[in-house]
């Protein structure tokens, strides 16, 4: 599941009247009009006027603590990262104006792929313009007609869209349900190619997947395994390689998908793999071939950041401390949380309904706190969530301030 705002992750085809192709959006337009005309600040129209640090910005005119940006390791303002970006901008220009397979592979693209190979200790790394495109490209290219994709129903939009772009048969199973996954794998016709798609951390509730069990079953049934580790890179696992590493099964994963837009602190996506034929992807993967490569400054910031994340154990420890403190504090106040224990750097607060969720979101913003509002249909089971993502750069005092803001806002809107 994703940051999809008014869109469900799994694509649905809207049905409209004849003529105006936009009439299919009338329901949504009306819903938004009603919400905004009640005086609500538009949850999806926030503007960051100035960004002061990884954890503080001026949004909609107010100085605001950022608690919903996935900037887990606070790398966006790292001085080495910024210096590398500026240097590349000076030396290589603003953009490549070309595809990776034509004129768009610069030294920097090779360097960031090498940084990824070193970070994951894997043989191959392929960088895409975004994590969305990495999922789109890899999934649609490797699972073709006659193949079967077995995936968690709460998968991110980019995974669903990758399935839709390819021609494989798509078989979802209930979230994190090991038995449901196994049953479906066993029913796939003899001889068909199989791809199991899982995520390390599911970003809606911040829960992690039982990868050890699931990957063992996938392998026992002859499936290849792709794990999206977008929300774990840099701080889960002994080397920050993610949930699969943490559970000791990274060597069983055929493809790891990741992003530069969270812990790495810039933009871009990637796939790392030990598959001996992996390099052919560069020629056959359309979302890699038919688009321009990332600007030199972006890959330079990413490479520098990834290399620094290899040595980030102190920051990592502090991030976990923040996650535990916030989880415990919110629980003690009486908020209902997405997980029993803090499993990741996402703490998801489950609101009773959309009205109180939206009111709480707005009250927090007025207190000076930004969290992510997630609501149906993008959420599992139609929940309204206030998703908080912690940063290694949040100080212990900031976390206490955040808890105080939740207390005030929660009391104001009657959520606790």
């Amino acid at each position: 599941m994703s940051e999809g705002i008014d869109e469900v992750d799994r694509p649905v085809m809207p049905t409209g009247e004849k003529g105006d192709l936009f009439s299919k959006f009338d329901g949504l337009i009306e819903q938004r009009r009603a919400l905004l005309s009640a005086g609500m600040e538009d949850p999806f129209g926030l503007v960051m006027q100035r960004v002061l640090s990884p954890t503080v910005a001026v949004c909609n005119g107010r100085e605001t603590i950022l608690l919903g940006t996935y900037n887990y390791m606070g790398m966006t303002f790292d001085p080495d990262v910024i210096a590398a970006g500026k240097e590349a901008l000076d030396d290589f220009g603003a953009g490549t104006t070309g595809s990776r397979v034509l004129n768009g592979t610069y030294a920097g693209h090779k360097a960031v792929e090498q940084a990824l190979k070193d970070f994951y200790a894997m043989d191959h790394a392929m960088v895409f313009a975004t994590g969305y495109q990495a999922n789109l490209g890899i999934i649609s290219t490797i699972a073709g007609k006659g193949d079967y994709i077995v995936l968690d129903i709460d998968s991110h939009a980019s995974i669903w869209d990758g399935c839709k772009l390819g021609d494989a048969e798509v078989v979802p199973f209930r979230h994190n349900d090991i038995e449901a996954m196994e049953k479906r794998l066993k029913r796939i016709p003899e001889g068909a190619g199989k791809l199991v798609i899982l995520e390390g951390v599911y970003s809606m509730l911040g829960d992690i997947a039982p990868l050890t069990e699931m990957i063992a079953i996938a392998k026992a049934n002859g499936a290849m395994v792709l794990v999206d580790e977008a929300h774990s890179m840099g701080f889960i696992g002994p080397n920050g390689r993610g949930v699969a590493e943490d559970q000791g099964v990274l060597d069983q994963v055929d493809f790891v998908i990741g992003t530069f837009s969270k812990s790495v602190g810039t933009v871009g996506g990637f796939c790392v793999s030990n598959h001996p034929k992996f390099e052919i992807m560069r020629l056959v993967c359309r979302p890699y071939v038919f688009t321009a490569s990332l600007p030199p400054s972006v890959v330079a910031t990413a490479a520098t950041s990834i290399r620094k994340l290899m040595h980030g154990s102190n920051k990592r420890a502090h991030l976990w401390e923040n996650s535990r403190t916030l989880h415990k504090g919110l629980r003690e106040m009486g908020f209902k949380l997405g997980t029993e224990t803090p499993q990741s750097a996402i703490i998801s607060v489950i609101m009773p309904d959309l009205e109180r969720g939206a009111a709480m979101w707005e009250a927090l913003l007025h207190e000076g706190l930004y969290v992510n509002l997630a609501r149906p249909p993008a959420t599992p089971a139609g929940m309204t969530l206030l998703r908080c993502s912690l940063c290694a750069e949040h100080t212990a005092e900031q976390v206490q301030t955040i808890l105080g803001m939740f207390q005030c806002a929660g009391a104001k809107v009657g959520a606790i």
């Binding site: 129903i153 798509v170 209930r174």
Partner: protein, 79 residues
């Protein structure tokens, strides 16, 4: 299993999902008449899959609009 026997078993499976007690026949539409949310649809599909030991892929689900089409599909999928 023939169509009648399959239909009888599907009728049993759908019973607990039909909370609004809609009268169901072959022309009943899942989207229009039953108005299930996506979670209910997933649970119902899983229940049918488990009952008949088949998989109904998303691609096949997209083709199934009515109760009658579901019965036909399940008959076909059992081979």
């Amino acid at each position: 299993m023939d169509r009648a026997a399959t239909a009888a078993r599907i009728a049993e499976v759908i019973e607990p999902f039909n909370k609004k007690a809609v009268t169901i026949d072959d022309s009943t539409s899942f989207a229009g008449d039953l108005e299930w949310d996506s979670l209910t649809v997933m649970d119902f599909v899983a229940a049918i899959e488990d009952e008949f030991d088949i998989i109904i892929t998303m691609n096949q689900q997209a083709e199934i609009e009515t109760y009658g089409q579901l019965i036909d599909s399940v008959v076909n999928l059992q081979g």
